[in-house]
Amino acid sequence: MRLYAVVAAGGFRRHTTYRIATAAGVFTNTVFGAIMAYTYMALWSVRPRLGGYDQAEALTYVWLGQALIMTVAMMGGGFEDELIERIRTGDIAIDLYRPADLQLWWLAGDVGRAAFHLLGRGLVPLAFGALAFDLALPADPLTWLAFLFAVFLGVLVSFSIRYLVALSAFWLLDGAGMAQMAWLGGIFFSGMLLPLNVFPGALGEVARALPWSALLQIPADVLLGRHTGWGLARAYGFQLGWAALLLGVGRLLQAAATRRVVVQGG
C-alpha cells in the first residue's frame, strides 16, 4: 500500500514541474468557461428552468466542467499515451517484472495527477467563475466533501476507461484510434458540452446511464445538492458500480494481454 502512496505522490509531484503550462491551462479554462457561460446564459434566459437547473445552477455547472476537465481527464491525456507507448515499444515487459500490480501502479499515478489538476487547474477557474458570475455554490462543507468523494469516484471511472483504451494497444499496436473514440465519448457523454439532463428523450436516458456521466454530471449534481440522503448513496453506487465493472474488465484484459507479451530480446 505504501508503494502506491509513493507512486501517487510522484504523480502529483511530477505535474508540479509544469508551472507555466499549468498557468496557461488555467487561462484557457477561464476563457472557455467565460465563452460557455454566456452561451448558457443565452439559453437559460429563453428557457429559465431547462434541465431542472436555474441560471445560477447552469452557470455553476459550466465552471465545474472547466474545473474538472483535467482532473477527471475528460479529453483523455494523462497516463494512457505513455502506457500505449510502453506497450508499443515493448518496455511493458520491464513493468511486468516489477513487484507491483500493473493496474494499481498506473491508477496510483493517475490519482496523484488528478489531485494536482484539481488544485492546479480547478480552483482558479472556479474562483474566477464565482467572482464574475452568479453561481449557486453550497455553503455547507459537508456538500463539498460529498462532492470531492464523487470527484474521486469519477477519477476512478475515468481511469478504468482509459486503462481499457491503453490495453487495446496490445492487440491494435496503435492505440490512437481507440483513444480518439474514447475521447469523443468522454467529451460528449460526460456532459461537458451540455448537461446530460438537457439531452432530450431516449438520448438523455442512455447518456445518463453510460459510465461517462460519472465524470462530470454526477459530481456537479452532488455539489448542486440534487443528490442527498439515499439519492447520494445511489449516485455513489452508480459510480462505484461502473468503476468496479470496468476495472474488473481491465484485470481480465490485462491477464490476457500479459500472456500475449513476447519479449523480443535485444
Binding site: F27, V31, I35, Y38, V46, W183
Partner: protein, 295 residues
C-alpha cells in the same frame, strides 16, 4: 538591423536596394512555400502509408468537431432562437468560422508544437537548415486528418446557406468565399503569433489554444450572446470578429452590436493582411530572441 543601416547610407541607390530587398523577400516567401509543400508532401505520404489509420483519424476529427454542432442542435431542440438568432443563422456563423479555422488549422495547426521543440532543443536542427524556419515549423507533422474539420465546417455552411432567409445579391454571395479565405488568414496569423509567443513562454501552448480554438468556439455563436467587453476584445484587440461576425452581419442584414459601421463587413482582407504582417514581425522577433537550450 544591418540591412536598415545599409539602406540609410546607400541613399541614392535606395529604390534599387528597396526593389532588391522586395525581390529578396519574395524569393524568401517562394522558398518558404516550396519548402512547406515538400515537407507537407512528405508527411502526407507517410500518413497515407497507413490508410486505415488515416481514415479513422480523419473521421474522428470530423466527428470531434461535429460534436460542437450537435450541442447547438440539442440547444435548439429546446428553443427557437439563441441570442435572437435562428438555427440556420447560427449554423451560418458556425460553418463560416469552422471552415476558416479548419483551413488555418490544416496549414498552421502544427505551430503549437513549437514550444516542445524549444524545450527539447530540436528547433536547432531546423535553424541550421537553409529553409525558412516558419515553413518548417508549420509543415512539421502536417496532419491531413484535419481535412475532417474543414469538411464538417463546410457541411454545416452548406446546410445553412439555402436554409437562410436572405435576399441574395452578388455582393452578399461574394462575401462568403472572401470571408472564408480572410478568416483562414486571420486565424493563421493568430497561430503564428502564438508560435512566436512560445519562443518566450515555452510551456504555454494552451494560451494559444484559447485564442484559436476558443476564438473559433466564440465565433460559432452570435455576438449578441456575449458581454460587450468580450465583443470589443475580439474586435479591436484580437480582431477575430472579422473572421465571420462582421461580414456575416452584412449577409444576414443585421446591425453589428457595437454600432460599428456596416462597411466594415468588407474589410476582412485588409485586416487579414495587417494581422499577417504583425504576426510575421512577432515571429521574426521570436526567432531573434531564441536561445538554444544547449542540450
Amino acid at each position: 538591423m544591418a540591412e536598415t543601416v545599409a539602406d540609410g547610407v546607400a541613399g541614392a541607390a535606395a529604390p534599387e536596394s528597396w526593389r532588391e530587398a522586395r525581390a529578396g523577400r519574395l524569393r524568401g516567401a517562394a522558398e518558404g512555400i516550396r519548402a512547406y509543400r515538400l515537407i507537407a508532401g512528405m508527411w502526407i505520404r507517410s500518413t497515407l502509408a497507413y490508410r486505415a489509420s488515416f481514415l479513422m483519424t480523419a473521421l474522428g476529427n470530423f466527428l470531434a468537431t461535429g460534436l460542437d454542432f450537435v450541442a447547438i442542435l440539442l440547444m435548439f431542440s429546446h428553443i427557437d432562437a439563441l441570442g435572437g438568432y435562428t438555427l440556420p443563422e447560427v449554423a451560418f456563423l458556425y460553418g463560416a468560422s469552422g471552415a476558416a479555422f479548419g483551413l488555418a488549422d490544416l496549414v498552421m495547426g502544427s505551430m503549437d508544437r513549437l514550444g516542445r521543440r524549444v524545450r527539447d532543443g530540436t528547433l536547432d536542427t531546423l535553424l541550421v537548415r537553409p529553409v525558412p524556419v516558419l515553413a518548417q515549423v508549420a509543415a512539421d507533422r502536417f496532419a491531413l486528418r484535419r481535412l475532417g474539420r474543414i469538411t464538417q465546417g463546410l457541411l454545416v455552411l452548406g446546410y445553412a446557406l439555402p436554409a437562410l432567409d436572405v435576399h441574395w445579391t452578388p455582393l452578399r454571395a461574394l462575401l462568403i468565399p472572401l470571408m472564408l479565405l480572410s478568416g483562414a488568414a486571420i486565424f493563421s496569423a493568430v497561430f503564428v503569433a502564438g508560435g512566436a509567443f512560445q519562443f518566450f513562454a515555452q510551456d504555454a501552448s494552451e494560451v494559444q489554444n484559447s485564442f484559436t480554438y476558443g476564438g473559433n468556439q466564440m465565433l460559432q455563436y452570435p455576438p449578441t450572446v456575449f458581454a460587450k467587453d468580450m465583443v470589443r476584445g475580439v474586435t479591436f484587440v484580437v480582431p477575430l470578429a472579422f473572421v465571420n461576425w462582421l461580414p456575416a452581419m452584412y449577409v444576414l442584414d443585421r446591425p453589428y452590436p457595437l454600432d460599428l459601421p456596416g462597411w466594415l463587413a468588407f474589410t476582412p482582407p485588409l485586416v487579414a493582411a495587417g494581422c499577417c504582417a504583425l504576426a510575421g514581425a512577432a515571429w521574426r522577433a521570436g526567432v531573434r530572441a531564441y536561445r538554444s537550450t544547449g542540450s
